[in-house]
């Protein structure tokens, strides 16, 4: 196993709404990220995965607030740094972010290259403008991106190109951790593939050391990530090797999620897709016990009594009191 780069412990963050209510979007999340690894975070909309991505950056501004926990990158707890130190020494430098809608991530009235210069100006104050331009051009060449994109305005680039430009921009300072929040969800499948190749090449070339990949598309994650965490209502409900979690999920929610995957593969036709009634709980309310209890078919009184701790089951970790095995496809899926 590689060296641990990122350790997040018991991270709790919340949104403060205009009505002064607190939405507990990340509710006690812990994980580690090792060198050379891609860790996937999967879940449905509103489960807190995007908030987790933002929270791990350690840089909070309204409406997102930090409550408790620690984020340690390379031995430094970034939550103990001053905001200015965090901005200049950590953001972009140690940990970088690719936003959900890369389509709008670039300032429409700024040429791509000028924006990269602005980033370098903050973090590499010694460089001359010419050096900055050379650095950006070299990086684009290594990553097989056209250098003419540097002199273009964002709206002059196609959606796929814009996304690749954002990926290259985010990693210009060789961050140790790259957080990619649904980096390809707005792209067509062909552009998606190219963007994923680019992300993987960043890791292979050593421009980033590890990656958090957030998505709701599990088939995609299967080909991208080494490990995966399944998130539900602000908590991690299951984590393990990606193949094992996808094909043999243990947590009832993960089982439902895996059962609902649709891919164009011959045995999907005629399968009964799994479906769960109801909706995820409102994260404004303080909750006790299992977050999934209201929708779970196995729920017993015990589930609602107190906070369910994470526990190991083989190489996996689950947040469930019981051991439910994923039923084999033949029994779970009746033929249509």
């Amino acid at each position: 196993m590689g060296q641990t780069i990122l350790t997040v412990s018991e991270l709790k963050t919340f949104y403060r709404t205009r009505l002064k209510e607190n939405v507990h979007a990340v509710d006690g999340v812990s994980f580690t990220l090792e060198e050379g690894k891609i860790l996937g975070i999967a879940g449905e909309s509103g489960c807190g995965k995007s908030t987790l991505a933002l929270s791990v950056m350690g840089f909070y501004f309204p409406p997102l607030n930090f409550k408790s926990g620690s984020i340690v990158i390379d031995g430094i707890d970034i939550m103990k740094l001053s905001r200015e130190d965090l901005r200049t020494k950590v953001l972009g430098e140690e940990i970088a972010y690719i936003p959900q809608s890369a389509m709008n991530a670039l300032n429409p009235t700024k040429r791509v290259g000028k924006f990269i210069e602005d980033i370098l100006r903050e973090h590499r104050p010694g460089l001359s403008q010419e050096q900055m331009q050379r650095l950006a051009a070299e990086r684009f060449e290594i990553l097989n991106l056209p250098t003419r994109a540097l002199t273009a305005y964002p709206n002059e680039l196609s959606g796929g190109m814009k996304q690749r430009v954002v990926i290259a921009t985010s990693t210009i300072l060789n961050p140790k951790v790259l957080i990619a929040d649904e980096p390809t969800s707005a792209l067509d499948v062909s552009s998606q593939k190219i963007a994923i190749k680019l992300l993987k090449s960043l890791l292979a070339k050593g421009f980033v050391k590890s990656m958090l990949f957030i998505t709701h598309e599990l088939p995609l994650l299967k080909h991208v990530a080494d490990d995966v965490m399944i998130m539900y209502a602000g908590q991690i409900v299951e984590r393990g090797r990606i193949d094992e979690v996808i094909f043999k999920p243990m947590h009832p929610y993960a089982q439902a999620l895996m059962g609902s995957i649709i891919v164009p593969e011959s045995d999907i036709r005629g399968h009964r897709l799994s479906s769960i009634p109801g909706a995820p709980p409102n994260l404004k309310n303080e909750m006790k016990g299992c977050r999934f209890a209201d929708r779970c078919i196995h729920t017993v009184d015990e589930c609602r009594k107190e906070e369910i701790p994470e526990r190991a089951r083989g190489e996996r970790t689950i947040r469930c009191l019981f051991d439910f095995d994923y039923q084999s496809e033949e029994t779970a899926h009746e033929r249509r």
């Binding site: 950056m57 840089f59 501004f61 901005r87 200049t88 950590v90 953001l91 972009g92 430098e93 970088a96 972010y97 936003p99 959900q100 809608s101 709008n104 991530a105 670039l106 300032n107 429409p108 009235t109 700024k110 924006f115 602005d118 980033i119 903050e122 973090h123 305005y153 709206n155 002059e156 954002v166 921009t169 985010s170």
Partner: protein
């Protein structure tokens, strides 16, 4: 040919066409007012005259002098021709003074009042709007409603209130005119002082209303921009707040430039009313007098000046806007 030049020429062509239509309307519309200006003049001149023939002769000579004996359409052609030579005809009401002479004396006053007032109002309004959007809190809660209040007041109402409070009641400023009655225009300090003193109230009236309107627009544009994805991304790449605010200000101000183009007509016409209230010796006051005396050439001359000013302002703004906003530039190019 350079596509921007093409765009420029095309726009210029459209503005020229608009101008011709405007000149035509400027000619015909005042002449549709019921009443005969010559009868007004003759009845004033012939007071005490008993000779009907002499009155008739006087009337006819004026009709001939003013060209009113010819068919209307022919008058129009002559008018148009004369305009091309910079000749706006003779004022009926101030006979034998030429309209061009009157306009030449009025324009400096109007420009001197309106251009600084509108520009300063626009600038201050935008700064204020951006500031309240960025600072939020108390600033926003006080300044925003105040701006809304000032903006919803008609120009003349604010002017009259200013006139009453500072001119009549507090007697801090003179209540009308462009300079002291007893003075003869010259470059002495006392004269300039008097001009500035008279300038102040109408100037502030126009500035205040402009500030209100611009601040409201800028505030909402800035709030929109502040919440956009590129702001989040730039901040998470470690770019300092002051630089991000510069991005936001630039992008928020662009629509405000168009806003200025769209509202400049309203602003100028509003400012003309301010002139009337303060009896300021500019175009607005002259226009007001001309309408009362059915002084067609002077009405046409004044409205033509106003039309020219609005068109020129809009044209300049459109050209500048095309240069500064890459998004607009791109669509212009596509349109070729």
């Amino acid at each position: 040919m350079n596509s921007y030049l093409k765009y420029f020429l095309k726009k210029f062509g459209w503005y020229l066409l608009t101008l011709v239509v405007a000149i035509t309307l400027n000619f015909f519309l005042p002449r549709m007012i019921k009443g005969n200006p010559v009868s007004v003049i003759v009845s004033a001149m012939s007071q005490g005259m008993s000779d009907v023939n002499a009155q008739k002769k006087l009337y006819e000579s004026y009709m001939h002098q003013f060209g009113l004996d010819k068919p209307l359409f022919q008058q129009y052609l002559i008018y148009f021709q004369n305009i091309l030579h910079g000749d706006f005809g003779v004022s009926f009401g101030n006979y034998p003074r030429r309209v061009s002479n009157i306009l030449a004396s009025a324009i400096p006053w109007t420009l001197g009042l309106q251009i600084p007032a509108i520009l300063i109002g626009w600038l201050l309004g935008n700064l204020l709007g951006a500031f309240t959007a960025y600072k939020k809190g108390v600033f926003d809660k006080i300044i925003f409603p105040a701006a809304l209040f000032v903006n919803s007041m008609p120009f003349f109402a604010l002017s009259i209130i200013m006139l009453y409070v500072f001119g009549l009641h507090l007697k801090w400023f003179p209540i009308g005119g462009g300079y002291g009655y007893q003075m003869i225009p010259n470059l002495s300090l006392s004269f300039i002082g008097s001009v500035l003193q008279h300038h102040f109230l109408p100037f502030i009236s126009i500035v205040l209303v402009a500030i209100g309107g611009q601040a409201i627009g800028m505030r909402s544009m800035s709030i929109y921009e502040l919440n956009s994805d590129y702001v989040l991304y730039a901040k998470l790449m470690g770019i300092r707040d002051s630089r991000v605010v510069r991005y936001v200000f630039r992008n928020a101000v662009l629509p405000q430039v168009t806003g200025l183009a769209l509202s400049i007509g309203t602003m100028i016409s509003g400012a003309l009313i301010t002139e009337i209230v303060f009896n300021y010796p500019g175009i607005g006051t002259w226009l007001f007098t001309a309408i009362r005396t059915l002084d067609f050439p002077l009405i046409s001359g004044c409205t033509l000046m106003i039309t020219l000013a609005v068109l020129a302002a809009n044209f300049t703004i459109e050209i500048i806007y095309g240069l500064i906003d890459p998004r607009v530039k791109a669509t212009q190019m596509e349109g070729q």
